[in-house]
Symmetry: C2
Subunit: 325 residues, 2 copies
């Protein structure tokens, strides 16, 4: 597979690292909206201007669209999906159906395949929810994130006027986790299971009250969550909140038996030192996966739900059965 990366931030770099590890992948180059001469890729691969991307239509098997979900991906993924097989990590859960439809139309126009909303959530955790509810026969799954830095939420804060930099931690509420494990099957909204802690570097003289209000009322991202906003210096953010650790779990408690007397607990959990690098690694496996689907004639938008697990591996079906089954 010859891949290219469109957008060279933390996720783009994570993809770059992951591609190096896959024997069946090769990186064509990085497309950036900055001046390509100012952007040096970690692996030394060539950088191109984003505006020139369509010149390379014939050179690239899959394009990794690496951008923020708030404004980048809804605009960029459909445009690229008409000319390239694409994969993105769109993570605004509530807007996924809309994004899917836009990308689907574009990919079908171009006779391409497009995987949206890949990564670990949406992505692996989505699979955890689907699989666990299907196999426990009506069990209800609960998703807990963190404690960890959410790239999407940090990114959303950084787009606010007067904000220089920011990190957001998503933190599960412990009493909610315990209630699920006990099999109490509680009714919980996302907002009752997590709180959000923000560390924000503001411009000198910025209206901090206004920034705080803008964060706390941001639809989908913070609105309705227990959110704390702490203003810190650039130095404090760097030393105290470096890296992108994250993690979480999908927990599902089902019941089986004549009188539902037996509890069956399924849990998928992640503990990640680097969220963007792991996300890049998941995207890379799925990029190989959608190419196999493409070869079998699949066109239009797809999700992780549509890709048979076997497609993600470098191994043949025979080897998979022998090694993993």
């Amino acid at each position: 597979m010859i891949a290219a990366i469109y957008g060279y931030g933390n996720l783009g770099k994570g993809v770059e690292h992951a591609l190096k590890k896959r024997s069946d992948c090769q990186l064509f180059g990085v497309f950036t909206r900055r001046n390509p001469n100012d952007v040096k890729a970690i692996t030394g691969v060539k950088t191109y201007a984003a505006k020139d991307v369509f010149k390379y239509e014939k050179n690239i098997d899959v394009m990794f669209v690496c951008g923020g979900s708030a404004t980048d991906l809804p605009q960029i993924t459909p445009v690229l999906a008409e000319k390239f097989n694409v994969i993105d990590s769109f993570d605004t859960h509530a807007k996924i159906p809309e994004h899917f439809d836009e990308v689907d139309k574009a990919a079908k126009r171009g006779n391409k395949i497009a995987l949206i909303s890949c990564g670990w959530d949406p992505g692996l955790f989505s699979l955890g929810r689907l699989y666990s509810e299907a196999v426990t026969g009506g069990g209800k799954s609960y998703t807990f994130w963190g404690k960890g830095v959410s790239q999407g939420h940090s990114d959303a804060i950084r787009r606010i006027d007067g904000v220089i930099d920011a990190k957001e931690y998503t933190v599960p509420i412990e009493t909610a986790v315990n209630s699920v494990i006990k099999g109490e099957n509680p009714k919980l909204t996302e907002r009752e299971t997590h709180k959000r802690e923000c560390f924000v570097v503001a411009e000198k003289g910025a209206d901090r009250e206004k920034i705080e209000k803008e964060i706390k009322t941001m639809p989908y991202y913070f609105d309705g969550y227990e959110t704390t906003v702490n203003f810190v210096s650039e130095e404090e953010l760097k030393t105290g909140h470096g890296g992108y650790p994250h993690g979480g779990k999908v927990l599902c408690v089902g019941r089986t038996g004549e009188n539902s007397e037996n509890k069956q607990i399924m849990e998928l959990s992640l503990k990640l030192d680097s969220n963007p690098e792991f996300t890049g690694s998941v995207l890379t496996a799925y990029a190989c996966g959608i190419l196999k689907a493409y070869e079998k004639g699949v066109r239009g938008a797809v999700t992780v739900f549509d890709i048979p697990p076997a497609y993600l591996s470098t191994l043949s079906d025979e080897e998979l059965r022998k090694k993993y089954l």
Copy 2:
């Protein structure tokens, strides 16, 4: 889906319970090698003689083949696969390629689909191994079972001459688990990660030494494992070792980053009050899954690796994206 159960032991009963919970499933009946008049199904569904099974070829969408892996399934699944879409839980890992080939040939002769080796291991844990190694970019997965009762191993002991009943517990070796979590990437065989504890009821006057030796040297099942054999009375087995609890985890530690400096841990774990009921529940979801694959033209033997996750759910693709992604 109209389903039937062939073989009415613990697993068959687990399937029966699970089918009740699925709105898209209906149970035609139970086929038994015993006298059907002597077998009363829990849900009151009709019981049939196993030898009459082919009379009902046209009435059944999927046949659950519920038998032991040691001798039943290698014989029965290929025979049934020629006339029915079938699903089994064949779990002798080392013999899976051979079983796959036999079933594949039979199913293709009959233009049917056959899913072999479904359940939680092989099955969900196989998926855990494949997914985790693919998405961590070269991480190595480790599987730990237990502590719990292995039906396959208990069944294998019960087939030994002079044995009335038996339960086998698979127990993970704690030092091995900890080494994996620390990221030490240890080289471990299955035998270095688990020990096996057997509780056996022998016939009066049976040669206990011979039974113990036969257990400890049984290929694939016990040979090479640290195995302890305890002879107990029927009463002790019933009161002290009732039920079929099990569980375990697939643990995978990958590394990402320029110098592989970041550790990424993925874990799939199960804690099951009833192993056969959970296995029955997994099989039920996959029976619905293979019917969707069959409708799309898939024929021959398949495994959980080949089935897109979406096929397991009762929901439409749109609903899945909205609810789970």
